[in-house]
Symmetry: C2
Subunit: 344 residues, 2 copies
Amino acid sequence: MQTVIAVDAMGSDRAPKPEIEGVILAARHYGLKILLVGPEQQLRSELAHHPSAHELPIEVVNATEVIGMHEKAQAVRTKRDSTLRVGLKLVKNGEAAGFVTAGNTGAAMATAKMVLGVLPGVDRPALAAVFPTSAGKASIMVDVGANVDSKPQNISQFAIMGEIYYRTIFGVKRPSVGLLSIGEEESKGNELTRHAYALIKELPVNFIGNVEGRDLYNGRVDVIACDGFVGNVALKISEGIAEAFSYLLKESLKSTIASQVGYLLSRKAFVDFKKRVDYSEYGGAPLLGLRGVAIVGHGSSNANAIKNAVRVAKQSAESGINSRIEQELAFSKTAVGAGTWEPS
Amino acid sequence: MQTVIAVDAMGSDRAPKPEIEGVILAARHYGLKILLVGPEQQLRSELAHHPSAHELPIEVVNATEVIGMHEKAQAVRTKRDSTLRVGLKLVKNGEAAGFVTAGNTGAAMATAKMVLGVLPGVDRPALAAVFPTSAGKASIMVDVGANVDSKPQNISQFAIMGEIYYRTIFGVKRPSVGLLSIGEEESKGNELTRHAYALIKELPVNFIGNVEGRDLYNGRVDVIACDGFVGNVALKISEGIAEAFSYLLKESLKSTIASQVGYLLSRKAFVDFKKRVDYSEYGGAPLLGLRGVAIVGHGSSNANAIKNAVRVAKQSAESGINSRIEQELAFSKTAVGAGTWEPS
C-alpha cells in the first residue's frame, strides 16, 4: 500500500508556493500519496498552474484557518479548523502516516500533543534539529525548544529518542550520543547536566560523555542531548552567525574589482557551499515522543526543503520509529526514571 | 605617570612568542610600561632577538611556574610561583594597573578572585566576551563561563557590569542591554530568565528586553546578559561554526579551476573578512567585578591580539571601570538585591 503523508499547505513564509512545488517533487520522486491541507479553492487553483500535478496522487483536504508564525498559544484551541489541527487529525485517524508543516513550531507541538497524544513512557515530547557538520555528515540536537526547565530524566529520554531517530533516518548502527555541557569531564557543567550525565551513562547507547558547543559542527558526535532552552539558543545562534558570515563575506567581496571577478569565478563553489550548510537538505525537525509522525520545516523552507521533509516523514513512518521509542523507553525505564530530582 | 600593565608571558598556545611580539607593539604604540611575567632567563634571551625591545619600557618579572590550559583547579593553590599569581600580585600591590593573560581562563578567574578579591556589592565576578556583528560594531556577552547555576540577581549584576564596560571601552553613551532568552516577550524563557527579566527592567539601563541567539551577530543589542552555562555554550558554538564555515568554504573553493582562480583573485577580500570576524581585534575577555583589572585573551592569540588586550587593560584601568561598577551597584542595590529566589 502507498504511504500517505499529510502536508500543511499554509505553513511557510511564502505559502503555499513552496509547499505545492515541494509536494509535486515528493509525489513524483518517492512514490507516495500526498494530502495537501489548506483552503480548498485556493489550493485547487494554484495546483492548476502545474499541469503535471494532475497525474500525481495529490489530494486537497480542506482547512479554512491558519495559525500564523507569531500567534499566541490560545490559537491552538480557538482555531478549530486550522491546517495544523486538520492535518494532524488525518494522522490520528490513520488516513495519513505522517504530517509535515513549515509553520509555527510551538503551535505544531501544542496541537500535536493535543491531537496525537504522547507515547507511553515519554514524559515530554521533544523537538530535534538536524545540523550539517564539517565532517560531511549530519548531527542532531534534542531538545531545541519544546521544553525549558527540563529535569535530568527528560534529557535522558531526549538522548534515547534522538539516538533512535538518528539510527533510523541516517542508517548509522550505533550513533554516538553526547550531553551538551561546558567541559568534557563528568564533573563539568551545571547541576542539571551533572544529574543528567549520571542517568545517560546507564543507558544502552554509545554515550561519549559531555560535548561542547564547538562539537556541534565538527562531526565528533551524532546525537546531542540538552535542555530545550540551551538547545533553542544554540539553534538560533547558528542561524544568526550563518547570516552574519554570508553578509560580511559578501561585503568584503564587493570591495575591489579583483575580488568581484574572483567572486564571479568562484560562484559555483559558493552555491555548493551554501548547499552543504543548507539544512533544507536534511528535511526539517522531527517532533519526537508523539503517537504519530510530525515533521516541522523552517518557515523559510523552499520546495526542496518541503520535499525532503516529506521524505523524512515517510522514512519515519515506514521504519516504525515510534514503536521503537516506546519499546526502548520501556526497556530503559530503570535508568531514565531513576530517582526524583529537584534543583537545589 | 606612565600606566603599567603586567602581561603573562606564558599563557598562549605558542607562548612566549605572541606575548613578546605583542608587548613590543603595545609598548611602542600606547606609551605604557610593560611588566612581562615569566621565567626570567628564557624571556631575556627571547627579548634579545628583538633589538628594538631594548629601547622600550619592558621589564621582566620572574615567575617560575605555568598553569597549563588543561590543568585541574588545584594548580591555582599549589603553584605558588605561577605567572598568573605573580602577575595578579603586581596588580594587587599597585605595581601594575592591570593584568593580561592568554592562558587558562578558569585558572585566571580563580587566581584573580583569590589574589584581588571581589568588589563590594558584587556577588559573583563574571567573564565577558566580545563578539563582532554584521552591523560593524561589537557586542558583549556576560557571563560566558565563570558562573553556572546563576541566580536572577547574578544576571542582573552581569547586566550592570557589562553595560559599564561597554560604555567605557566602546565609548557608547547608552548601550542597549538585552537578556538572552528564547522569545521576545517577557513571558518567554525559563524560570531563571523570567525572574532576571523582572530585576533588569528596574535597572537604570537601556533595557530592550529579551534577545535571541540570532541577535548576537546582528548588532541589535550591545550588551547581552545571561547565565554562564548558556553563555559558554554560545561562545563555543560560535567558535565551532566559524571553523566549520571556513573549512567548508575552502573545500568548496578547491573543487574547480575557475573557483581556485576565483579564490586567488578574492584573497584580499577573504583576509579583510577574516579580520572583521576576528575577535583578536577586540582585545580579549575582561573579568568583571574584581578589585583590579584582568583581561583574558584566547589561547590562540597572536601578537595583535596581545597588543589589543594590553590596550583594553590600559583603557579599563585609566577610565576607572571598577569604581564605576562599585558605585552603580551600590546605587542599584534595591533592584539587584530585590527578594530572594530559589528555583521551584
